[in-house]
Symmetry: C2
Subunit: 404 residues, 2 copies
């Protein structure tokens, strides 16, 4: 497995593009992305668990019910959520893709991100389709990655190369993270493409399994968007024997998928709204996987800990506190805590009680951009990771000041 | 029922005092509070559900296992939590109360709030006991309220007068809210006193029932402290017939208790760390009490909504979003949202979709200091309230910058 460039166009047979069509007022910001596979692809998706769901999610769900998709269209600037005409607009977007590319409307994954509760005007999208389609190319992944950004400060893409039965396969993904361009909620969107051949059942199984340890362990601010969605399109053009069951190939595929999703999780967390630091909480020694995950996620979600990390304050009491109220079944008298970064590692708590440590070294470690919070929970066999970011003045500014 | 002054000394037979003994470095801040009843009182308490518990909570639990207490001692500046000698120090505090006042050590409620994981030195407390006891008075409630403050910007006390069987009864309380004087977690402590006569079973029943709709519906930042505790001491000196069961007197007592706890909830929420606004989410029309409460609490806990309220932004989409991911069993297509304050009321969402509204009026309403978020969930009979505050730069500053 090696990291390569190309994002969603790294895999064979995927073209992409991103343009400014006019949904966003700022002309320098792209707002419409298109990804097209040369051939119909196997598709899998997971969606937000929020009861309030963006209209595009329902249409995507309908379209890929048969496990097949060939294109992804996604706009930024408007979430097309809580609008009476939302489902129709989402269908119109799919129809526009069919008209412009020949891909069947019901083979289109459609997504939107941006302000909610404001009608999405189809006009700019309709007018932009010619330019969007004309610019589709096998190296257009970056343009697509840019077009789905909202308050993301950097575009997010990653790709890997791996081998299945001697055939070179590639997988790549783009993501948009927690950010809002209007007074609406943050949305996480992830589009992954691969040229590996895999059945729809195994693709869905791989995705559904993977996200429990990746995107579901990611938190920027504890708010779950209405429009979150992760999709994978696998077009089989690598020519490997189709993966139909568990086994070596499926394991390799899962590893490739995990390297994509973990990389995107880290990118999204590190670019959380207002974030100055990427935080990763690693729990080990838990008696159950559930306890390992619950504890790690609670630490990453604690506003108090997030603020402490912003202040480079080795405040391990907040780590214990967050584990204590997490509901995880742990023995608090067995908890060890250490902080680690490129500047070193420092132990601050053993068996649930503080130990003397150098505040100077702790500060040096916590001033780095990527911080690991290492939590030992005992002698059990389970471990987990969760990703997040610090809580900063800018988070409040971004989310409080927009319309003032 | 009428509001009166006096706090924890409003009820007959309760003396209190608060002094600076030296736990805190700032000499102008009191750090040790004592409340003493002239006679042994019936006692009830509820404690944090955090698995990591402050040592004083365990000792208090032991001491009032028999349903009797006569004094409360509480220091600020150190939480006496996650220290190997914590239980011994808490016991020592009770012994000091016995030595200074004659109240039996095992009739003492002991509490601590402040930094965790740093040993609490008993010396300043021991040295301060003479002055603390000498200054006990029937109008010392305010001094006690001041001595339990950490980053609270105002002391919190309230009292009411009511009648049971023709006898005038009084009940009062003091509280400290979400604040920290060191890099530790916030703690909520509430001490309530009354001269009403009530059995321990009915007192505990009243308290345990009340908090489900009051303190358990209060959130500053979603972090549950290790040291949270609410206690009620009822010394019976009002001379009413002791309340032994449900009935008119118990109902009146519950109403008095609720007026105290709601007032303290509002004070704690409005003085949350960095808060500029008190937020109250009122849900109505729910099919179950659980749904009403879950939805209200989720709205109050949403970092996105809290930041929007700081920015006076009528961002109703975040209200829907928070209800959508709350787990509450609601029909999102029936949700109405309005904002209300002293400046007026404005409807912003009907049946789950936005409606046109005046941004100017909305801004005016949301610039007030106390904001109600009114959420209609349908035609059901259940309603609930939750209290919180906005998320501000100062929250981040208070919690991120302490040791930098």
């Amino acid at each position: 497995m090696k990291m390569i460039t190309g994002g969603v166009c790294a895999a064979k047979g995927f073209k992409a593009n991103g343009i400014h069509c006019g949904i966003r007022h700022n002309h320098s910001k792209k707002d419409l992305a298109l990804i097209v596979s040369d051939v119909p692809a196997t598709a899998a998706a997971v969606y937000t668990q929020n009861l309030v769901k963006g209209a595009p999610l329902a249409i995507t769900k309908e379209n890929i019910a048969n496990g097949i998709a060939q294109a992804v269209i996604c706009n930024s600037g408007n979430a097309n959520t809580c609008n009476a005409d939302g489902p129709q607009i989402a269908r119109d977007m799919c129809d526009l893709v069919q008209k412009a590319t020949g891909v069947l409307a019901n083979d289109v994954v459609v997504a939107s991100t941006g302000v909610i509760g404001q009608p999405l005007n189809i006009e700019p999208i309709a007018k932009g389709m010619d330019a969007l389609t004309a610019g589709l190319s096998y190296d257009g992944g970056h343009a697509a990655a840019e077009a789905i950004m909202t308050t993301d400060t950097v575009s997010k893409e990653v790709a890997v190369e791996f081998s299945l039965g001697g055939k070179v396969c590639r997988m790549g993904g783009i993501a948009k993270g927690s950010g809002m361009i209007h007074p609406n909620m943050a949305t996480m969107l992830v589009f992954i493409t691969t040229d590996a051949a895999i059945s729809r059942e195994m693709l869905q199984k791989a995705l559904s399994s993977d996200i429990t340890a990746t995107f579901n362990m990611l938190s920027i601010d504890g708010d779950t968007s209405t429009n979150d969605m992760v999709t994978v399109l696998a077009n089989g053009m690598a020519g490997n024997d189709q993966i139909l069951s568990e086994g070596e190939d499926f394991t390799t595929f899962m590893q490739a998928l995990n390297s994509i999703t973990v990389a995107l999780c880290r990118m999204i967390a590190g670019d959380g709204e207002g974030a100055t630091k990427l935080l990763e909480c690693k729990t080990t020694g838990a008696d159950t996987l559930e306890a390992a995950k619950t504890a790690a996620k609670s630490v990453i979600c604690s506003s108090l800990l997030k603020a402490a990390m912003f202040g480079a304050d080795a405040n391990w009491g907040r780590v214990l506190c967050a584990i204590g109220y997490s509901g995880a079944d742990v023995d608090v008298n067995k908890i060890d805590v250490a902080f680690r970064s490129n500047a070193g590692t420092i132990e601050v708590c053993k068996n649930g009680a503080g130990i003397p440590f150098s505040e100077e070294l702790a500060k040096k470690i916590l001033l780095e951009k990527e911080i690991e919070i290492l939590v030992g929970l005992g002698d059990g066999p389970y471990s987990a990771s969760a990703w997040g970011c610090d809580l900063t003045y800018d988070y409040v500014k971004i989310n409080g000041d927009y319309r003032t």
